[in-house]
């Protein structure tokens, strides 16, 4: 018999010392115990942290993984990235719904189960993927769907489901300097501390290391600005939100190279003068918690974390915070808002996080891969590292390859590798296009496969989704349009409403009701959102449309109903509700179209 809800809430609040900045963790832990966040639960939490109740509800309502309505004993979420779709996730989801006598997105009458979609869960190389009660399951098949329906109907606890379902593979296909680092825990840190923090920072600057999250800001410069910024404390934040659909390299780094990542965070702390590091891990990777905590505990035991690290005058420790299903939190200032217990809304900048970040103190936010790579700089020096890659892109890059290839997985290359090379290594055939860097990145067509992965040509966070000749690039773009409409934080008008307008226009085209006028409308929204949006999400939300419209225009044009204007209103579609209510779908229940 579980404890009374008040006891559970009190215990969680005590664990977090009633600190409102830890609201995300409080909400998640309470929900894990109680199933959902009932109105009285939110009131109780608000009282415990001394916040206005509405502010707690505001945060709870922002994140997809928090439930302010009953969610059922089993909550099944199908990853809905285009790569999952290409592997047939829609049919599998509908099959599961049918077996459970359920409509998608609706809680079953008995409150047992709900089935819905969610944004990419980072398992693109082993999809179709699902989250069941926020635990990751990979490689779904029709057989597994049948079994899952049985397990749910018989109310079998998740711990008793086949263990094999929860297996997540690394799928490392090519290693280079980073994945073949050969370092033992503490080796890089000892080397840096031997040099001293200022000299180590100079090495990082000399290495030319740049941020791996896509924007490519020089790491050494970021650390230096942060170090020099006045503040009562400095912070290191590792951005492991990895929400860009098609990216899964951070998952692999944190699974099999966690020491390297934590050591990189410690190095950053040493360089900027921080005592605290925060790993912001996406909620989809909740399953990693115990393993990561174990690595942290071991490193504390080895004097690589905690007070007097390596017996020197340096104190640093790391804490793990989980996100809760919000792509926008990959943006560094939104991530910091989330770390402070608030909705993930990008801040007005300047000031930038390096001078005023977490708790308004100087904060360096770095990507998982950047921090891991800094270990190589610490161990081998800046000059050694600068020789890897190209002139303006030092080092190597992990690529998350998925889609129409024989060998999906992680490929590490020195910067400057061509798209064609990656395709050849991954066993891609009849490739039509590659979406590099996810929906907000660029769509590369066949004649551009000679282009290179580097900041001089195609900068990327590492997503590399491959589409062969059989794929419909319009459907790819439509999937991305819906992704952005779902993930827009809603703060600014152009992105909040614009992403919805674009998604609706794409649906209109998909239903063969479009006209060239609608395509012009999409270009117009692209221009508006690119200029007027508050942050990068809105600025880049129309990139996939723009790219595919320019490079694969026939995929759009064959959908156009006429070359004149077509209204969005479809009289026959408007009757669908009446048909559902009367259970009729015969010819007489449809309007015949004159054309």
């Amino acid at each position: 018999m579980p404890d009374a809800p008040e006891k559970t809430i009190a215990a969680v609040l005590a664990r977090h010392k009633g600190d409102g900045t830890r609201l995300m963790q409080i909400l998640r832990e309470v929900q894990e115990e109680l199933g959902w966040l009932a109105p009285e639960t939110i009131t109780e939490i608000a009282r415990g942290i001394g916040w206005p109740r509405a502010r707690v509800e505001g945060t709870a309502a922002f994140y997809s993984f928090f439930h302010t309505r009953p969610r059922g004993k089993y909550c099944v979420l199908w990853s809905d990235n285009i790569t999952d779709r290409m592997l047939g996730n829609r049919d599998l989801m509908l099959a599961l719904c049918k077996k459970l006598w359920l409509e998608p997105a609706r809680l079953s009458e008995d409150g047992l189960v709900s089935v819905n979609t969610t944004s990419c869960t980072g398992m693109c190389d082993q999809g179709p993927a699902v989250l069941v009660n926020y635990r990751a399951i990979t490689r779904m098949t029709p057989e597994r769907v049948d079994q899952m329906a049985e397990l749910i109907r018989n109310q079998v606890p998740l711990d008793e489901w086949p263990a094999d379902w929860f297996r997540v593979e690394d799928n490392i296909r090519r290693k280079d300097a980073l994945l073949d680092h050969g370092l033992v825990p503490g080796e890089a840190l000892a080397a840096a501390m031997e040099k001293g923090s200022k000299a180590f920072l100079d090495e990082v600057k000399a290495s030319g290391l740049r941020g791996r999250g896509g924007a490519g800001f020089t790491t050494g410069m970021k650390w230096e600005i942060c170090r020099d910024a006045p503040g009562s404390a400095h912070y290191v934040v590792c951005n492991a939100d990895e929400g860009e659909p098609g990216t899964f390299k951070d998952r692999v780094l944190l699974t099999s190279y966690a020491d390297l990542v934590f050591e990189g965070m410690t190095l950053a702390g040493y360089a900027v003068g921080a005592q605290k590091g925060l790993l912001y891990l996406r909620g989809e990777y909740r399953y990693m918690k115990d393993a990561l905590e174990a690595v942290l505990a071991r490193r504390r035991g080895e004097k690589l974390l905690g007070s007097r690290i390596l017996d020197k005058d340096f104190t640093f420790d790391i804490e793990i915070h989980f996100g809760a299903g919000a792509y926008i939190c990959g943006e560094e200032s939104a991530l910091i808002e989330s770390l402070e217990g608030k909705p993930g809304r990008p801040r007005i900048r300047p000031p930038f996080p390096v001078t005023r970040g977490y708790l308004d103190q100087p904060t360096t936010v770095n990507n998982v891969e950047t921090l891991a790579a800094s270990c190589l700089v610490a161990r081998h020096g800046g000059a050694w590292y600068a020789k890897l890659g190209t002139a303006k892109s030092a080092g190597t890059k992990l690529m998350s390859v998925s889609g129409d290839v024989e060998r999906p997985g992680i490929y590490e290359y020195p910067y400057g590798v061509t798209v064609a090379q990656i395709l050849a290594d991954a066993g891609a055939r009849d490739t039509q296009a590659v979406q590099v860097s996810g929906p907000s990145g660029v769509c590369v067509a066949a004649e551009e496969f000679g282009r290179r992965i580097c900041f001089e040509d195609i900068p990327t966070a590492g997503a590399f989704m491959v589409f062969d000749e059989s794929r419909d690039m319009f459907e790819v773009a439509r999937n991305f349009a819906h992704f952005f409409a779902h993930e827009s934080c809603g703060f600014c008008t152009p992105c909040r409403v614009g992403t919805q307008v674009v998604a609706r226009l794409m649906d209109k085209l998909a239903e063969n009701h479009g006209s060239p006028y609608d395509i012009d409308e999409m270009f117009k929204m692209h221009r508006l959102m690119q200029g007027a949006s508050h942050c990068g999400l809105g600025n880049s939300a129309c990139n996939p449309l723009f790219d595919t419209l320019n490079k694969f225009r026939p995929a759009y044009e064959r959908r156009l109903k006429s070359l004149e204007y077509e209204p969005a209103f479809d009289l026959d579609a408007a009757l669908s509700q009446a048909r559902q209510m009367t259970r009729r779908d015969d010819a007489g229940a449809h309007l015949s179209n004159e054309d």
Binding site: E57, A60, S488, F491, T493, G498, G531
Partner: protein
């Protein structure tokens, strides 16, 4: 050009260090269209109507600090065209029926749309399902008209120290004003008709009960003078 001035549509505008472009422009009697900005409160920067081009780059003038020598484009055809589109997006996002709205003539959204020459909503309406809250004895909340400007949030937090309104949720279908009570009803809060937040709404969400149409339509604020005049003198 003297030290503390910037160029706004070719005209030198003086500023005091620390002022935003919006503040300096208003002080000089220059109108930059806006909805979520209010001189009493911190800039929010969300409606994006005040987007200008500073040295060729798009930026929100309400949050950008004025700097000497910057060249700013404001009322250009390109920018006013974007503003009209933003207004249209706001009109189709909510349920705005001006002829039956108590705020008609006092509504900044309506007045700005007139001023910028918005002739139609252009986009298909979303017709969202937004509830009305009549639980409070003196105040009616009609969220159909909400443009998510956050002014009530700021007024309740900063002026009234009550936090009756908080912005929460995500995206067009989720973002909304959350009322600070377990029932979610205004009647269960300590909100009062005398609160600053009760009179801050630029559109017709927060309405005082029993005073409807006290001033006839035709004699209201923006009936007397257009937004471009009212908004630089308020």
């Amino acid at each position: 050009m003297s030290e503390n001035t910037f160029l706004l549509d070719g005209e030198a505008i003086p500023f005091v260090p620390g002022q935003t472009v919006m503040q300096a422009a208003k002080a000089a009697g220059k109108y930059i269209p806006h909805l979520c900005w209010h001189p009493e409160f911190k800039p929010h920067g969300s409606c994006k109507l005040c987007t200008v081009k500073a040295n060729g780059r798009f930026v929100s003038s309400c949050t950008m600090e004025a700097a000497a020598g910057v060249t700013i484009e404001n009322r250009t055809p390109e920018l006013d065209d974007k503003r009209r589109t933003l207004l249209q997006l706001l009109f189709v996002e909510g349920n705005h029926f001006c002829p039956s709205c108590e705020k008609s003539g006092n509504c900044l959204l309506q007045a700005t749309a007139y001023d910028l020459g918005m002739m139609s909503p252009h986009f298909d309406h979303f017709f969202p399902d937004r509830p009305v809250d009549a639980s409070h004895p003196d105040i009616l909340l009609d969220f159909n008209r909400c443009i998510l400007c956050s002014l009530c949030v700021q007024a309740s937090e900063q002026a009234d120290k009550k936090n009756v309104f908080v912005m929460g949720g995500r995206g067009m279908r989720g973002r909304r004003i959350i009322i600070n009570s377990e029932s979610g009803k205004l009647g269960d809060t300590d909100f009062a008709a005398s609160d600053r937040a009760a009179s801050i709404c630029p559109v017709g969400v927060i309405l005082k009960k029993r005073v409807g149409f006290a001033v006839p339509i035709g004699e209201r604020k923006y009936d007397q003078a257009p937004a471009s005049v009212v908004e630089v003198t308020k």
